[in-house]
């Protein structure tokens, strides 16, 4: 745990100093909201139909940028190799990187969500609190898998493309369920199917995290 916390502290310190990831992710998402808001002149009902998808498009595209950035800083000056030389297990390194990527992404989501509410003229309600577990579970699923795949892809020349290619097929069920649940909450239609879906996402999170934690050691090897 000490190793993971050291990596988390180091990554957050670097991120808050440069604000490279968060700022780029925020601007990118803002652009998505602005473009879609002014492109489609649709009724509020239709907008409520497409808003959950837009929110997750912003989260995921920006998240991929964050994931790429996370291991790009490790590639600089051979730090990825220094990780392989550390007297710690790969799982601890994975946990550290996972925690830093997830923290940065959740922070970005917290910053962009109010903008989303304003742009799409959504009414705040207590029911919206249900979005917290939805966003948390969806984000953790995305980052738990994204962290290990980013470590795999960073060794290649076109790592940004490769990461997207590897990540999309595997993470798409989580994204689809998260979009569905977000739609239910935004439309104030939380039905019986909501909680089983949430449980399904959580189950995927646990599977992805456990597998990645166990396999990360092999990623660090040559």
């Amino acid at each position: 745990m000490r190793t993971a916390l050291a990596i988390l502290k180091k990554d957050l310190r670097m991120e808050f100093r440069s604000k490279e990831s968060i700022l780029a992710m925020w601007i990118f998402s803002l652009l998505i909201f602005v473009i879609f808001n002014f492109t489609f002149e649709v009724s509020r009902l239709v907008m409520l139909e497409i808003a959950p998808g837009l929110l997750w498009v912003a989260f995921i595209f920006s998240g991929i940028f964050g994931l790429n950035q996370s291991f790009a800083i490790e590639k600089e000056n051979g730090n990825l190799r220094s990780m392989a030389l550390m007297p710690v297990d790969g799982g601890s390194i994975y946990l550290g990187k996972f925690l830093s990527v997830t923290t940065i992404m959740l922070l970005f989501e917290a910053l962009i969500f109010p903008i989303f509410i304003i742009f799409y003229d959504l009414h705040l309600s207590w029911e919206m609190l249900l979005l917290i577990p939805v966003i948390l579970a969806g984000t953790i699923g995305f980052t738990s898998l994204g962290t290990i795949l980013s470590a795999v892809a960073v060794h290649t020349r076109n790592h940004q493309i490769l990461l997207s290619l590897l990540l999309w097929p595997l993470v798409s069920p989580i994204i689809i369920w998260s979009v569905t649940m977000t739609g239910m909450v935004l439309n104030a239609e939380v039905v019986q199917g909501f909680y089983p879906l949430l449980l399904r996402v959580v189950a995927f999170d646990i599977i992805f995290f456990t597998l990645s934690f166990m396999l990360f050691e092999f990623i660090l090897e040559e």
Binding site: R2, T3, A6, K9, K10, R13, M14, R17, S18, I73, E76, N77, G78, N79, R81, S82, A84, L85, M86, P87, V88, D89, E221, E222
Partner: protein, 238 residues
């Protein structure tokens, strides 16, 4: 003296490309050995195998009697190469604090300041390493490497790109490490430095050891002759 490193018939290939062939080597604790050889001879591959970041295709490696990928063995090792293993966006102090935490250094605050003083970078401790010159980065790399008091240092062409002042400083630092009883493996193209610093040398050519000798029995000129003759010698031994 105990054996620090034992390599037995190490071979390494990357598909059809051969990197090392039947390399055997015994190294005693406290010994300083220079590995000489032209580009592509297999020096870096050999260091990667010793450090456990690469597995040999054949043969066995024992570092302090155990496997190099073992966690306790890794804690006894430090690698210095042309890659700095530092973060440009962190200060010198933050970089060392990070490594001190990873390597579980006792009394990290004090130790970090000690090594910074040793490499004469105390006055720059609050500066981002991205603003450092190549020589200063290399000194900080040394500080990072000796932070956890390793028993063995692996140095992969650490003098590359350094000016004369930085080379002299790095040489002094290495001799200091040697005087502390640390085992040191250095790959270099600089024969003078090899003679000045080490106790022993090996010459790698065509991915195999073609010469293994004591520095005390040779001069830089001698070494130069031996270094440039390995092709003929390789014909006899490889």
């Amino acid at each position: 003296m105990e054996t620090a490193l034992k390599l037995e018939n190490i071979s390494k290939d990357f598909g059809r490309i051969i990197a090392l062939r039947n390399v055997s080597l015994d190294l005693m604790q406290g010994e300083f050995i220079s590995i000489l050889g032209r580009n592509g001879a297999g020096k870096t591959t050999l260091l990667n195998i010793i450090s456990g970041t690469s597995k040999p295709s054949q043969g066995s490696v024992l570092l302090f009697g155990t496997d190099p990928s073992d966690r306790t063995t890794k804690a006894k090792l430090a690698v210095i190469s042309h890659e700095m293993f530092l973060y440009n966006n962190l200060t010198a102090l933050e970089n060392l604090e990070y490594y001190a935490s990873i390597y579980r250094v006792e009394n990290p605050g004090q130790r970090v300041l000690e090594v910074l003083a040793e490499v004469e970078l105390t006055h720059r401790r609050f500066d981002l390493t991205g603003t450092f010159s190549r020589g200063m980065l290399q000194r900080l790399t040394i500080a990072r490497a000796i932070l956890h008091e390793p028993s063995m240092l692996l140095l992969d062409e650490p003098f590359t790109g350094l000016d004369q002042h930085a080379i002299a400083m790095l040489s002094t630092l290495l001799l200091k490490q040697k005087s502390k009883g640390r085992t040191i493996l250095l790959t270099t193209h600089d024969l003078h430095l090899a003679v000045e610093l080490s106790d022993r040398y090996i010459i790698l050519d065509r991915h195999a050891i073609v010469e293994d000798g004591n520095i005390s029995e040779t001069s830089p000129e001698d070494l130069r002759t031996r270094f440039f003759q390995p092709l003929e010698k390789a014909g006899e031994t490889v």
